[in-house]
Amino acid sequence: MPKRHDIQTILLIGSGPIVIGQACEFDYSGTQACKALREEGYRIVLINSNPATIMTDPELADRTYIEPITLDVVEEVIKRERPDALLPTMGGQTALNIAVELAARGTLAKHGVHLIGASAESIQKAENRESFKQAMMRIGLKTPDSIVIRGRVETPNVVDKIGGFPVIVRPSFTLGGTGGNIAYNREEFEAYAEWGLSTSPVGEILVERSIIGWKEFELEVMRDTKDNVVIVCPIENFDPMGIHTGDSITVAPAQTLTDKEYQLMRDASLMIMREIGVDTGGSNIQFAVNPMDGELVVIEMNPRVSRSSALASKATGFPIAKIAAKLAVGYTLDEIPNDITRVTKASFEPSIDYVVVKIPRFAFEKFPQADPVLTTQMKSVGEVMSIGRTFKEALQKAVRSLEVDRYGFEPHPSLAEGDPDEVVAQIRERLRRPDPERLWHVADGLRMGISVDEIYALTKIDRWFLNQMKDILAVEDQLARAKHPLPTPLLREAKQLGFSDHRIGELLKVSEETIRRLRNDEGVTAVFKRVDTCAAEFQALTPYLYSTYESECESRPEARQKVMILGGGPNRIGQGIEFDYCCVHAALALRDMGYETIMVNCNPETVSTDYDTSDRLYFEPLTEEDVLAIVDTERRAGTLLGVVVQFGGQTPLKLALPLERDGVPILGTSPDAIDRAEDRERFKTLLEKLGLKQPASGAARSVAEAVAVAASITYPVMVRPSYVLGGRAMEIIYDEKSLNAYVGQAIKASVQHPVLIDKYLEDAIEIDVDAISDGRRVVIGGIMEHIEEAGVHSGDSACSLPPYSLSPAILDEIRRQAVALALELRVVGLMNVQFAVRDGIVYVLEVNPRASRTVPFVSKAIGVPLAKLAMQVMMGRTLEQIGFTAERTPKHLSVKEAVFPFTKFPNIDVLLGPEMKSTGEVMGIADDFGAAFLKSQHGAGSFLPMQGRVFISVKDKDKAATVPLARRFLELGFTIEATRGTAAYLAERGLMVDTVNKVKEGRPHCVDHIKNGEIQLVINTVGDKVSQADSASIRRTALVQNVPYQTTMAGARATLMAIEAGLKRKLTVKPLQEYYAVGTKYSEERA
């Protein structure tokens, strides 16, 4: 069937900020959908609050609304844009839920908007646990026995009805299994049920018979209007049922199903698609299989594009989101060509001749209080995918892709020590409780002689996988007993099993370089195979490549001028989608300039790993060894002009020096300049040379030294160990007692590991500057004023562009310093500088001569694609040639707000500090600061009250600043209650406030009030660790009850401004295209 002509405008809803369970895979799907639908001539209206996405680039849609994804806002957009259709299946659970609510509210019917891709009815049927279960019964499929509970847990014997403990609690309509848990006893059940009910937006949970330990499979299914159905890929989970799929290691294709068993699952999937009524598009269906007898049960289905579809797309080369979008507008599968072969059609099932392994990446080091045991609620923040010709090869490639400083199955340090029996007992204990390290625990178990059968009994990881790991360890053992130089056959075997040079070197006690040299001498080098959807049956025209050790290489490098871009690897806290955005822009800019672009990355969720983002895609780990292999191959034809390392965050940056050593040109700012900015001593010298200030600092190798340094630079001080990155274990310390505790116990300062001590500029305003330089001229991209004071990690602060409180003189001084730094470092490309301003003095905190996390935000705020321009500059163009010679200060205000994963981790405090904890960001744009901040809060899911009661409890230092704030709240009609000290202080100054008990002062106390819904806003600042612990329950309760809270005075002031703006007038919506002209002003024709 040809495409529909009865619709012209299509509304697409994105998934909002990156959170656990909903990451950049929806930028990938949304971007594909935008492109696919515009290609068909439809007018696209897009809403997404996340500025760090490619989909919100103003060139991708006709109307781009970076606005909060709320019912009211979407309705406003519908009124303004009059779309004919809404495609809700590309934006994860967020978009799906909003679509269901819009349909229920009657908004869609009222404005004549048709849901395409999935009907409200089928979404309900799939997402509502009870109706899904009934639907499965109708078609004769089994689901685990279960009972639905709504509102409250009333029946005490619910659990008995489904066969006793353990049971799984699954909230309806939540994402990433939020609120899900496994209860082993009554007490746990009651706690988990209550939490589950509170997390479900409809207050509903399913209590399910536990099938923990069963095998888990997923099928990615596509269906068109003619009822053609294809399975894109069967995926088998390495981890058994009981661990959320998002946290599971998964493998494609399925490994341990006979064809008969697989076809039953395939039949079931077809029936489910038809029964649920997904007419067009992709769905993900999860099954569990009893390993003892093959009993098959259906777990759930997602009637939309999902994380697994992104994985399946990258694993097979079948672009699910793009095709789902085309199906949604009426095409059928047999009408859509297969991009990779170009001769066959999309109506087929990919056959793959390699193995794909996905491993999730976790961030428990950021949340030491959180329980790292993996259960039914997703806890990972990112993932890597790898491709190998065998499972063993793919697994080992995935391990080193993770960037967790592992290059293989390194043994746990405890293996070398102590009584072997005790060690084995410890391993057994670790195996029983799956955590992010479980692969290494399995390896240790095998190493210490625990049998495959016993490990299976402890972990329920299929023996097939365990035996594969055993094979790896057997060769590891041979390597450990061999001597350098390794005999070639063993070297080749090890490489075929996926061993890294690093790990082989470690086992042979020689360097990685030595192994690489030996390999090159012996001709044991990587070849590259193509991902072609068809197992080589047809010729693949798309160069989507992975490495392996076999006879034939299919890379066929082109005789062109080429540039390689190194991506950012797995998403993690501190390095996420923003960097992928920059890499994609680099690729687009290079393509416009006529260069061949080569992308290297291993993150399946991203736009950068889409095979049409660059000319050539290498899906490979970002390690020295793997990147050099690609470099060697690409150099066989044409000219490799250089490698781009400054867009992908820390990952590629770490490779700059090794690559340079190997004679690979690094484009843009030199690795030496990067080192000058990163090395503490060199940086100090640099600032002195320029006459710029930085906070006083010193290093200490003992407690005594630390005390002396702190005394000389005066408290408060910021302390951190020298050997960790990214603000880990960083603390602000106010007195010598705490310093003693930190340096003496927590960190154990030593000669090898000195502690770094900086003066903490209390109450300073922090500023971020993104600038671009061609080496001669520097242009400021944007100056961002942080809302939270210096000391809160810049990635966790909200910020405003342009600044909302700084004087023109200060801003000019900041500009002057940024320009001086860029010129001195001879920056070519992007640079980010962090400043702190206190008492009119500007301090330099940090300089990063590379793309920063804020580049996409700034680009969206000012309407200039900074990363693209930077790429052009790096290829030798001047800013003048490009036509970007002056800073643009927009009239509108843009606010970026961070989004945190606190709800996923019970019992962790929500206070912000020097260690970054946010997973994502949203942007609010408006004509004034208050309204922009208000939008950013809505976008982040915090709905500021326009009336009601404010709870205030602040530390002594903040009390004076609270007075004007409280006065204004009262003037606006709010009432205030405060804890004793705060209340007395405010009352003394004539303000009408009620006093409420602190938690330890007896009941009813403030937490009771928050729980009872009596409080609409919480303002709570705390000082030292003791008071933090005392008041943690206040913040935690506010979080769980979804009561907006602020933990800094600056945040509280911004909140007040936002409320004032909200009271003044209704928020309006406006697309980027109306904020600034979107065009080709900076494109290549200027050059």
Binding site: G140, K260, K345, I352, V355, Q539
Partner: protein
Amino acid sequence: MKPAVLALADGTVFKGTALGAPGETVGEVVFNTAMSGYQEILTDPSYRGQMVTMTYPHIGNYGITPEDVESSRPWLAGFIVKEACPYPSNWRSRLTLDEYLCQHGIVGIQGIDTRALTTHLRDHGSQQGVISHADLDPKRVVRKAREAPSILGRDLVKEVTCAKPYKWMESAGKWKVGAGGASPDGAHSRQMGAGGTNGRFKVVAYDFGIKYNILRRLVDEGFEVTVVPASTTADAAVALNPDGIFLSNGPGDPEGVPYAVEAVRTLLGKRPIFGICLGHQIIGLALGLQTYKLKFGHHGANHPVLDLETRKVEITSQNHNFAVRGGEVSGAGAKPAPWTTAHGRVQLTHVSLNDDAVEGLRCLDLPAYSVQYHPEASPGPHDASYLFHRFTDLMTKGKA
């Protein structure tokens, strides 16, 4: 690990290690892209005379189970894999792949770059090859491959057909289509195989190398099935008084079995006929159409076929080196005009969406239809299982 070589007639040599029974074997080398179902492939008699390369690298993962065979034993000439799994994991597994191949004297090779081999066969066509564990001299083995007889015009059917007629009773049982629930083809509460006034329909199935799952599916339809040798004459078949004639799959070139073509020519119009694979090609020849050898054949479980009547796509299991010549047909085109043959008009009903090959046809003036692919699946998807119901319909009409 014992070394082994695979040599192709064009001189290409792959070095690997021995798999299965020791020795040396010769056959036409083809590749199959199915990711699961190696046991069904091993035991499919259509592979007689061929060596099969599995494109999926891990083969043997779920072992060997007595239930999943498609005939009494493996028939193929050799088996080529990247990695044979020595430790299968499945609750039904009884043997490892290697043990099974040894038991049945099948010579195999593993540890070679099967993707390189596949691209070679794709680009240069299927060809004769030799696997040897005994003779590792590339030149000699290549010479042996060159000297091997071609598959063209050879009667391989006589090597795999049954010796005498027998009744088949077994159904697909718990593995029947949609056994997890209702039927995926929508035929929920169908009255299976009700044979009008005489009870169940009687079907005579010509065994050109018939797969068990075809027989199981015929029984699932409710038919009384008698399997007869390939050489059974038309008169002998009619003497069994069947309601319909089924023509099975089988190995090799349809022109190698002129006796079968002759029998079918006689049977056309006398009884409703349904043919699969070789059976389809034999119907084609009987109707006066031509067959030809494909460059590397269709072997896999993911082949899209367009039903020209419903315009729906089915994902099919395929295994054929030969095809019926179709003339100018395009999968995207409208339904083409019927061909005129000595037996009346013949309608093209199914085409391959990959290469437009003829995948199905139907006689408009007499009760016969056939498909090139495998509606019985095994291995592969069940999308085309509706074709068995059509046989019931055709015989019901014949009775009426």
